[in-house]
């Protein structure tokens, strides 16, 4: 289900998703219409533009937070021209399950975008790379982030974006076992418990990086 006020983009997105085997069950130009649609027929995932009519400020964000509260089974992927750390944390609240927040430009990177839609639909998360890299950059000179090896830092970034171990292995063309080794190294260097699902570790890492 898609909520986007630009017709051009709404149609483009719908076509892209359909071409990649994702059924689009509804489209909306306003947050109110989206909420009605979701109440009527829960989709696996909604894709919401953060700026929607009438004020084009935070209507989409408020709708996203509401859907996450009212329909825990529905994944919510928020798209925005800007990404703000504070907004990502607002969207996640106390869980990163089924939540995504991406820069709008990312739709052009089709494979990654479709992968993110699938992840969020299946209860995982997708956090924009620019948020994660800004947070890591902010902490880069601080112990213990600067004790991570470059490759470990890259793995940490992908982890915080919501990628699974398999996804990280595919990205770097390395084995799953190697990724698991990096992950456990990272958690022990950061002195964090390495438990839980992919999205649990997203929230843990983001909270850690946010300081």
């Amino acid at each position: 289900m898609i909520a986007e006020d630009s017709v051009l983009l709404r149609e483009g997105l719908a076509r892209l998703l359909t071409e990649h085997g994702i059924e689009v069950t509804g489209t909306a130009g306003t947050a109110d219409k989206l909420l009605v649609l979701v109440d009527g027929d829960e989709p696996d995932v909604v894709i919401v533009d953060i700026r929607l009519p009438p004020t084009h400020t935070d209507e989409g964000m408020r709708a996203a937070v509401e859907i996450r509260a009212e329909h825990p089974g529905v994944g919510v992927l928020v798209l925005s021209q800007y990404v703000e750390v504070g907004l990502a944390m607002q969207l996640l609240g106390d869980s990163a399950d089924g939540a995504g927040y991406l820069l709008k430009d990312r739709v052009a990177n089709v494979n990654d975008f479709i992968d993110a839609v699938h992840r969020v639909a299946n209860g995982g998360s997708a956090i924009d790379a620019s948020i994660v890299s800004a947070l890591i950059a902010k902490q880069r000179h601080r112990d213990p982030i600067d004790r991570l090896t470059p490759r470990e830092r890259e793995v940490l970034e992908l982890m915080a974006q919501g990628r699974s171990n398999q996804g990280i292995a595919d990205e770097f063309v390395i084995t799953l076992r190697a990724v698991e080794k990096y992950v456990s190294n990272i958690f022990s260097k950061l002195d964090m418990p390495s438990t839980g699902s992919d999205s649990k570790r997203v929230l843990a890492v983001l909270l850690y990086l946010r300081g």
Partner: protein
Amino acid sequence: MAAPAWTDTAPSASAVVLIAIFGALAGIVMVAMAMTNPELHQPGMRAMLACWITIPYIAAGVVAWKQKPASKLGLLMVIAGFATFPNFLVWSANDLLFTIGTATQLLPPVLFLHVFLSFPSGRLGSRLDRGVVWAAYGAAALAVPAILLGLGAPRNVLALAAAPSWADFLQSLQLLVLSGLMLLGIGLLIRTRRRNGPPLRVSMTLLVDAFSLGLLMVAALLMAGWLEWSAFLDPLRHTTFSVVGLAPIVFLIGLLQAHLGRAWVGELLVSPDTEPGPVELQEAVARALRDPSARLAYWLPEVGSYSDVDGRLVEAHPGVGRSETPIMRRGVPVAMLHYSADLEDEPALVGAVAAAAGMVIHNAALQVELRSRLEELRGSRARIVEAEDRERRRLERNLHDGAQQRLVALALELSTLGELVSSDEVLRTRVDAASSEVAASLAELRDLARGIHPAGVSDHGLAVALESLATRASVPVRIVGVTDERLPEHVELAAYFLVCEGLANIARHAGATSAVIELKREGSNLLVDVTDDGVGGANRAGGTGIRGLADRVETLGGHLQVWSPPGEGTRLSAMIPCV
């Protein structure tokens, strides 16, 4: 309006002497009757109270009549005072006089009601006022049939029949109706006060309170008479008389204050060398009028409008419950005097105050003109900043809704195209190159739009926007005291720009290792501090950035301080009013 009323004549000296003689005579007769009546309980006290509710009305009436012949109130009070005497004839040993006294027993309360409701003009203002007063006179007139039916037997010499039960019934009816009308009278007093807005002069408030209390006591006394509570009757009568007699005394005090007011007018003129400033003049005028709500509105010929003492533009006409009088200087109107409509019955006082103010207003008028220009300047600075913000916001919105959306759609289209031509290596490379170009354009456009207007602040508030700033900052930044509360947009923008500038300075020259952003609410103000631990030595005059920020903050009525001793870091501190 007041001019024709001036032709109403004041009582001549001989009329005043006559009134005094008759009043004194009536009083002496009344006291004599009371003291020689063997049946009267506490004759001294009764005689004194009888004087208390008659003489002050006559005296206050004469003073009011002389001072304000335009108002019929003085005459009405004199008549009410005299018309109260006959009811005391019940103390007489003569049966005819006793009968007359009995017949006029209930006249005084009606007279008091009439006086109270016709304050201050001496005329009954509304149809309702007139209805209540005439109904009360009608009820009092029921005494005539009651007398004819034998009320007050056996001393009643005018009885035509002896029907005591009918006479008693009529009297009960009188008491009941009159007490109801008294309560209605209180309602009318309250209504008038409400309609005229809050009472503006203390003496006026006291007077209306005295009237209301008087009517209430009279109503209670009449009810006690109807219920035949003989035990309460005497103390209640004493209290009621005391209260009713108080009203003309309070009225007299008010009249006396009018004289004092004229003394204050004199004070305005005492030292012509030092003309008062706008505020002092307004205070002096308010004192002279005994009206704390009195305001001066200065005429600004260049603007073509009126201004208050602080230089802010105001309406020429003061609104409901308020009156206005022009203040002239050398025949030219320079200001408007706005005052409570209660003062309309004192045109002489208002005229004197306006005339006195006109003689010393020059200096104050010049100061107000200067203040209005400063106010105008501040207003136009604020409007410029506001217009610029609005325009920037519009630009950003247009970029977002137009170019950015289209570029994203284009990027989407290109990537779909890229998939379609994936078999053709050359085409694929070119499409990918085009995609990268579009992605780069989007990134540039995003930075441009963000530079034009920080949409994050307007859309999501300071908390979100400041966290992003802190995340991108060159040194670790701690944020203290930010809440999700939304403030007016211009306040949030000013705070945001302040933090931006502070962090940018830190990145450029502070040599700092950390910074703290602190927000605090103090009353209706927002305090924003950006502190770093760098080399210090920055100053407000230095950067155009800081100068621009100070402009913005001052435009909002706030101020900006830069504290930056060499070697001790830098602190930017702004106070921004949240209105």
